[in-house]
Amino acid sequence: MTFKTLLLASAATAMMTTGASAIDLTIVSWGGAYSNSQNEAYHKPYMAENPDVNIINDESSNEAVAKLRAMNEAGNLTWDLVDVLASDAIRLCDEGLAMEIDHDEMLAPAPDGTPASQDFGDLIVSDCYIPQIVYSTTFGYRTDVAAWNGKEPDDICDVFDLETFPGKRALEKRPINNMEWALLCDGVAKEDVYDVLETEEGVNRALAKLGTIKDQTVWWSAGAETPQLLADGEVVMGSTYNGRLFSLIEEQDQPVKMLWDAQVFDLDGWIVPAGLPKERLDAVMEYLRFATDTQRLADQAKYISYGPARESSAPLVGKHAELGIDMAPHMPTDPNNAKNTFLFNYEWWADYRDDLDARFQAWLAS
């Protein structure tokens, strides 16, 4: 083969791989088991159906808000679809960094024809948001603590009961959820929690309640910390995402149980960055229509114990892909688990987050 033909051949190969029909989609998510579940349930089947689409995974969701803002300022948008928490979606929508979505127009209806906006219902907490899953932040506790004399916690307020349940706790290093739980256990009715928290006395009350266990608390900032702390016996109970506890209990077989009481529902889902060029936007919307339909959302639950955000997906949830156990009882939305739940109040936290965070950090540092 002469040099010239070699050159031609390699040029031709290059043309084929970067041909005009092929398109790269950069999809940003959290990495780990969660990205894996998306990969199995959405990306792989979609790429099988659409060989011209190539999905690139970017594991930057925990800094997505800052990065999107930076991209916007630099005028160089490299992401096509971003997986974020609901509170971040609201923030991005406020900042004009996420595109507004017409859910009925852009997303597939349920199999029985129910329009998407009704199927998702009030989980659509922002005009820019397409929810995927419902997860919850709840407590796990060790079942082998000798000092508990055979008792097991079954109430959120047992977290604050150092007498009956001595030992260290793991709580998240931020005010959200902790303040609500503290007020609930300080005798505030569930429906009044946010009204109380809006007042100076309410904040002091919540912090005072948290103060009763401050010495016995390890504060975490990454969701993986609590399962590790529980497994090592460093803490006897701790809050984290229910999916993390699921893998600790079912996959790693640790002597840990879930509390479920007063679990706080939160959402995870997609936003489309504002300002995508038409060609990329079309490709993203086509992917989104596929990846958020009833079956796909139900499929994701095979890989991770988070509840699908569509009402119509719930009956389709099957068994775990590897363990073969029924996933429905492990969903935070399962009636047995959801006897007493709390829905993250996004609107309220968007207003008070900055203030309470300053108070909370000052309290932590003091």
Partner: protein
Amino acid sequence: MTTTDTVSAAAPPADPPPQPLTTRDGIPLKVSLMRALRREKMRAMLLIAPLLLFILLTFAAPIADMLFRSVENGIVSNTLPRTVEALADWDETSGEAPGEPVFAALHADLLIATEKKTHTRLGSRLNYEASGMSSLFRKTGRRAGRMDEAEPFKAQFIDIDDKWGEIDTWQVLKTFSPPLTSGYFLNAVDMELTPGGIEMKPESERVYLFLFARTLFLSLTIMGCCLLLGYPVAYLLAALPARTSNLLMILVLLPFWTSLLVRTSAWKVLLQQQGVINDFLVWTGIVSDAGRLVMINNQTGTIIAMTHILLPFMILPLYSVMKTISPSYVRAAKSLGATDWTAFWRVYFPQTVPGIGAGSILVFILSIGYYITPELVGGTSGIFISNRIAYHISSSLNWGLAAALGVLLLAAVLLLFYVYDKIVGIDNVKLG
């Protein structure tokens, strides 16, 4: 004694020539020399140009941007230009909400802002100063387009949200309407801008000054630990034969080669209450099972983990300075009658001061900006000011405050540099 080795005492040169020298064709010699050197200078410039450009783009520009961001506040007057103008006439100390013209201006501004979707961004910005602004603007924006233009706007706005009738809301708007603000900086030192002037924040919200002090204190402690641990190691490295010292050097550099997470997990396994060290102490009976030591998720954890990570930055400059110190100095000192300690302290140690200076500055500056390790092992008592900067950059999106904190941190470092220069002398720093 001859003059061969007393060159310094040479006589001054003869009187300078009265006229400037020229080349043979009459061009002044200096001009000709400049011309001859120009090509070389150009080439030298070209060689460093990429680096210069790189530094300008990646270092100088972001710092300038940060400085600007820490005072920039154009968003209010850009989003609500008419309102800001109308508010100029309002007396914020009057105790009354502004009148109808201001509300009319607000309505006009909001119509445009909702069109461009900038009103929610303004809401986020003002929410840093007063809670509730975020939802106020979101809510108002949604309904601004449906207002009856014939009716008075004031009543309609108050109808949407009572906050429009409250003076506090308007005071915040007016206080933060100028295009430049000192608000971020004040925030960064636990103060706030109120209609009544600059005040300290309530005790329960003060956190930054405390964190600055702690950052400096912990960084100095880490620097001290690195010096204490690194000095003997560097000495050993410099004193051992090359084969052995190379092996030891690999061990020193090991922290560089392990990923942050592996390293941190290792420290957790070692230091936590159910960890290896505590298990050992309980096993030997030094501490009781109930009295296990808390060595992680507090300042101790931060100091241990960061000393480990930053140790090479202390050892390497020390090593390279010690390597150049001939062993004959210590021998000379001993032959002159100095004990081992005197020889070390009076002769060896002073010569390693440039290495100590370089290592200490490196470690101090690196540790002052660390935030991942403190976040992972520092609990609540071991976190740094940089953790708050990271939080404001990536979570709260309050980049102005983050920039102000960053500027203050930079200023603190420069100040310490200045002090160091005054005490030790910055030219007394040697990396090798």
